[in-house]
């Protein structure tokens, strides 16, 4: 497991029914591409997050497949439609099998 992996998400706390809300996510992760070499010329093995998903009340918002060309500390901005109060579930899947999760609540008036 990569060290110090910290997911962060930014979601509005409140919205009106039917609103499109903007969501920003960032997870600290080295995203080792598998292209670099260490001081002895050995290839540093690939270690990336290969998939990211966001669901709202069990309904999928976005599902991203990631390759090594995604930058260190993967950042995504996207939008979701909210019709009711609920919870966003964010999940990141690491090459090594680790799964990182985060949630955010939104109140719909």
């Amino acid at each position: 497991m990569a060290d110090n992996v910290t997911p962060r998400v930014r979601v509005p706390r409140e919205a009106s029914a039917g609103d499109v809300v903007s969501i920003r996510t960032l997870i600290s992760h080295p995203m080792e591409s598998g292209q670099r070499r260490d001081g002895d010329g050995n290839v540093i093995p690939r270690s990336i997050i290969n998939r990211f998903t966001c669901d709202f009340n069990g309904e999928n918002v976005i599902d991203v497949t990631m390759e090594p060309s995604i930058s260190t500390n993967p950042y995504f901005q996207f939008s979701a439609v909210v019709n009711e109060t609920g919870t966003f579930n964010f999940t990141w899947y690491d090459d090594d099998g680790s799964v990182y999760e985060e949630t955010a609540d939104i109140t719909v008036a």
């Binding site: 599902d63 060309s69 901005q77």
Partner: protein, 123 residues
């Protein structure tokens, strides 16, 4: 000493990646927007944005990276707009390609050349 990159993506690799997504179908150029800087100072983190209203999925490729695949965005029923922003690595000056798959089975393609001052894939 000159450090050799472990092989840039050949045009064949890029074509393979495109065909794997489109099944060889032709792609139109309307209805998709790819926003990328013309000049990126740091190839390690180049901001890009894709937007294809109504798309099911958008694939992003970097034609000059050792592995052309960057990301595939699949939009679910709760997505607000079929658009997303992220940051990518670019090994050098090259074309960034975005292709959207629409629900009716057609494809839309956008492409932008990005000049990179410091490459983002080498050691």
């Amino acid at each position: 000493a000159i450090t050799l990159l472990p092989g840039m993506a050949s045009a064949a690799l890029v074509d393979d990646a495109i065909n794997a997504f489109t099944g060889g179908a032709e792609a139109g150029s309307d209805g998709i927007t790819l926003i990328a800087p013309e000049i990126a100072e740091n190839g390690n983190t180049v901001p890009i944005e894709v937007d294809a209203p109504g798309a099911e999925a958008i694939i992003v490729l970097a034609a000059g990276n050792p592995n052309p695949g960057v990301a595939t965005f699949n939009f679910g029923p709760a997505s607000g707009a079929q658009a997303a922003s992220t940051r990518i690595r670019l090994a050098g000056e090259q074309d960034v390609i975005a292709i959207a798959r629409m629900p009716d089975g057609t494809f839309r393609r956008a492409q932008q050349e990005v000049k990179v001052t410091i490459g983002g894939c080498g050691g």
